[in-house]
């Protein structure tokens, strides 16, 4: 375990403190049916509709495991460069809650399907950290309680009950709220590339339990508190910041940290104790007698490994190596699989750097402005590619390209046809541009003197020429001609 560099430490009254964070991320497995029943996993739906009698824990019902969920767990393990266990065991985790009809959750305790692995996390400042994965195991989700439908009763909906989750447990390798956020973002990105979890945090497909403790640098680990069910990356950052400061304050006043479960209140931006969970930690795990051990052979693992897609780390390196992109640009492009796919379609057979600039500046800029995802971009990758071709062959200038992009964004259509129809072609014929330039030079003798004395004043002539040609003159040709005419 590395000790954090000074910049990550938190200043207290008695000096600097180091924050130590470990995370348990619950990721919903992408599958049609539930982990142990044939009911649908679809989000929403009328209450208690996507529920089989297995999920409702009716007497005599037996769980039968969904092969796809096992494959997804193995696929994720491979994506996390983790050890895959050919034999693992399902256990019962016993506790009582109204949204848990069985009175236990089927989970994996002693023998998880996936063992140790690691995730490389790129920080915004260019630094990379490595976060160890302790384990990944399969388990059932619980149902959902709603409290606002009745004055004295809670409603229970079992649609989520029995949906497969992967619990991904990190080692306590995270040292700041920024690292915590970046770790979950990276994990989410890997899961989405793998297609094993949709990563939709609003729908609860990805949520994190965050373990936070503080210590003086070099000391042994402090007592930790677990913040349950934080469901957005921003909230993870806020919860860590608040919790670390709370613990530091207690310790500096001579108090002790009580190991407990806390919840994050997003409205108040604070964590508070969940008293109901105090006694819940005695889960009396034991192997589920309804289920044999989960066993598969190395061929099963190898066939999944053979179908793994290129993951963000590899893709980033390839874009840097093959396309000459900067680490920063490549990082932005590979973060989401859809974005990377879009970029690669645009860059195919074209200059990768030019394509990256245009996609990042024009397309992402516009998408962010409208709050749209790349999947709903009105400009397709082939349309963007066509715009880049028009620039490359000199038909339009970079400036006209921006106008053209705007037209394609709002009205759609074939960029080349739009350029034809609207006369957006840049003028490259030196004769035509020369005439305009001669005219401007003749009318502005004072400016000519100025430009001769101070070559920077050339910009004024470029501007005037562009204005006179309706922005269609080739900037390159204009510059060359002006330099010649003004003898610069």
């Amino acid at each position: 375990m590395a000790t954090a560099d000074n910049s990550k430490r938190i200043k207290g009254q008695t000096g600097e403190w180091e924050v130590v964070i470990g995370m348990e991320v619950h990721a919903q497995v992408t599958s049609e049916a539930k982990l142990f029943s044939g009911a649908s996993t679809a989000f929403g739906g009328a209450p208690n509709s996507h529920v089989s009698l297995v999920d409702a824990a009716m007497p005599g019902m037996l769980p039968v495991i969904n092969r796809r969920c096992v494959e997804q767990a193995v696929r994720t393990g491979l994506g996390l460069r983790a050890q895959i266990n050919l034999k693992s065991v399902f256990d019962r985790k016993n506790y009582f809650y109204p949204d848990l009809p069985q009175g236990y959750q089927i989970s994996q305790f002693k023998s998880p399907v996936v063992g140790e692995g690691k995730v490389v996390v790129d920080m915004p400042d260019g630094e990379s950290i490595e976060v160890g994965i302790e384990r990944l195991h399969l388990e059932q989700d619980a149902g959902k309680s709603v409290h606002d439908r009745h004055p004295t009763m809670s409603g229970v909906d079992l649609n989520r009950s029995g949906v497969a989750l992967m619990e991904i447990v990190s080692k306590p390798d995270i040292r700041s709220s920024e690292e915590a956020k970046a770790y979950v973002s990276k994990l989410r990105s890997i899961l989405r590339y793998l297609g094993t979890c949709d990563g939709n945090m609003e729908e609860g497909s990805l949520r994190a339990d965050v373990n936070v403790s503080v210590r003086k640098p070099g000391d042994a680990l402090g007592t930790r508190c677990e913040i349950k069910n934080v469901n957005s990356i921003r909230f993870i950052g806020q919860a860590v910041e608040y919790e670390a400061r709370r613990q530091i304050e207690i310790l500096e006043e001579g108090g002790k940290i009580v190991q407990e479960t806390r919840l994050f209140d997003a409205n108040k931006g604070e964590t508070r104790s969940m008293r109901s969970k105090e006694e819940a930690h005695d889960y009396r795990y034991f192997p589920d007698p309804d289920l044999l051990p989960l066993e598969f052979d190395q061929n099963f693992v190898d066939s999944i490994a053979a179908s793994l897609p290129e993951l963000p780390d590899e893709k980033k390196l390839r874009l840097m190596k093959e396309g000459g992109l900067s680490a920063y640009d490549a990082g932005i492009l590979v973060n989401e699989r859809e974005t990377a796919d879009y970029f690669e379609e645009v860059a195919k057979g074209r200059d990768a750097k030019v394509a990256a600039n245009f996609v990042i500046n024009e397309l992402f800029g516009r998408l962010n402005k409208e709050g749209k995802a790349i999947s709903s971009s009105p400009v397709s990758s082939s349309q963007t590619g066509a715009i880049l071709d028009l620039i490359a062959e000199g038909t339009i200038s970079g400036k006209i390209a921006k106008d053209l992009f705007e037209v394609v964004w709002t009205e759609g259509g074939d960029p080349r046809a739009i350029v034809e129809k609207r006369g957006m072609k840049q003028v490259t014929d030196p004769g035509a541009i020369e005439k305009v330039i001669d005219d401007i030079i003749a009318k502005n003798p004072a400016k000519v003197e100025e430009a001769k004395a101070k070559p920077k004043a050339l910009g004024w002539f470029v501007g005037e020429t562009m204005k006179a040609t309706g922005g269609k003159a080739s900037p390159q040709v204009v510059n060359e001609l002006l330099k010649k005419k003004l003898e610069l």
């Binding site: 996507h50 297995v54 039968v64 495991i65 109204p98 439908r149 409603g155 009396r284 289920l291």
Partner: protein, 95 residues
């Protein structure tokens, strides 16, 4: 291995079984008798023996990822003491 009265109370609480105070010594005796009976197994040397999980040599059967069940809310709710608009109703649980 044996349990004391406090452990009996704790087990009852975890299992949500109401046990009256005067019954505790009785249950302590029952549980300790069961534990003592099972302790006979300690006499067998099981070094290097894998735990037996099934009496028939078979593999965990698996199911294809197909939706084949559910969409029977009326069946699911048929034994519920109280329901409303498709929800089970339970005493208020709120954090």
């Amino acid at each position: 291995m044996s349990v004391d009265d406090d452990t009996v109370r704790r087990i009852a609480r975890l299992a949500r079984i109401a046990v009256e105070e005067k019954e505790i010594p009785h249950w302590r005796g029952e549980i300790n008798a069961v534990l003592k009976f099972a302790e006979q197994l300690n006499e067998v040397n099981v070094d290097g023996v894998e735990p037996m999980t099934s009496v028939t040599p078979m593999q965990l059967p698996m199911r294809e990822d197909k939706v084949t069940d559910g969409e029977v809310p009326e069946k699911v709710l048929s034994n519920a003491p109280q329901t409303q608009d498709g929800f089970y109703l339970v005493p208020k649980v709120v954090e």
